[in-house]
């Protein structure tokens, strides 16, 4: 997740609670418990709208 609001820089506690809130919202809405990392703006790769095909190469599949 890209951080854009500088007000969270007041303390590590604020950043951590933001992180936890995003994680909780993801869990509530999507049912996914995902680890959330805060990163600088415009550093995450943009969604390109293309299908990404994944081939499962695990044994026994």
């Amino acid at each position: 997740v890209e951080l854009i609001d500088a007000n969270y820089l007041e303390s590590y506690g604020l950043l951590e609670s933001l992180n936890q809130r995003i994680r909780n919202n993801l869990k509530t809405v999507l049912g996914i418990d995902a680890k959330v990392n805060l990163v600088a703006p415009r550093t995450l790769q943009r969604y390109e709208g293309k299908a990404q095909r994944v081939i499962d190469l695990r044994e026994g599949k």
């Binding site: 820089l9 590590y12 990392n37």
Partner: protein
């Protein structure tokens, strides 16, 4: 009159601090104090510069999430117990210290201590009332 401190968000990776200091260097911003500690993924750089208003415009123009906040700075007596006195004073008056760092000012051979507290005006009044030298300006 509090001291203005810059805080900037940086990823915890090699070269992240160099990006910030390069911006300062290219634009003639003089860094007086800097401190950072990190979590596993990121850190908050806190620094005191000679021109915080110009510095934050430069950082934001480069896409660095940053803000200015007010901190108290003191020049305590160079003797054992002088900081202990400050901490006791804050503790007695229920002023919570979020963080503290120090730096040396070469021109007057002093060591300044910077405090981020939850009630800065009360903290500065208390310090003055108790004869502790509060720094009004670092320019």
């Amino acid at each position: 009159v509090a001291i203005r401190q810059l805080s900037a968000f940086v990823p915890n990776e090699a070269g992240a601090l160099a990006e910030i200091t390069e911006i300062f260097y290219r634009n003639g911003i003089d860094l007086r104090a800097i401190t950072v500690y990190d979590t596993s993924e990121y850190g908050i750089v806190r620094c005191i510069v000679d021109d915080a208003d110009r510095a934050i415009v430069l950082l934001q123009a480069e896409g660095v999430v940053s803000k200015i906040s007010e901190v108290a700075a003191i020049d305590p007596a160079d003797e054992p117990g002088s900081l202990a006195r400050v901490f006791k004073l804050f503790g007695d008056h229920k002023i919570n210290i979020d963080y503290i760092y120090s730096f040396v000012v070469r021109k007057n051979d002093s060591q300044y201590f910077v405090f981020k507290v939850d009630n800065i005006s009360k903290a500065e009044d208390l310090l003055r009332e108790n004869g502790i030298k509060v720094i009004e300006s670092l320019a």
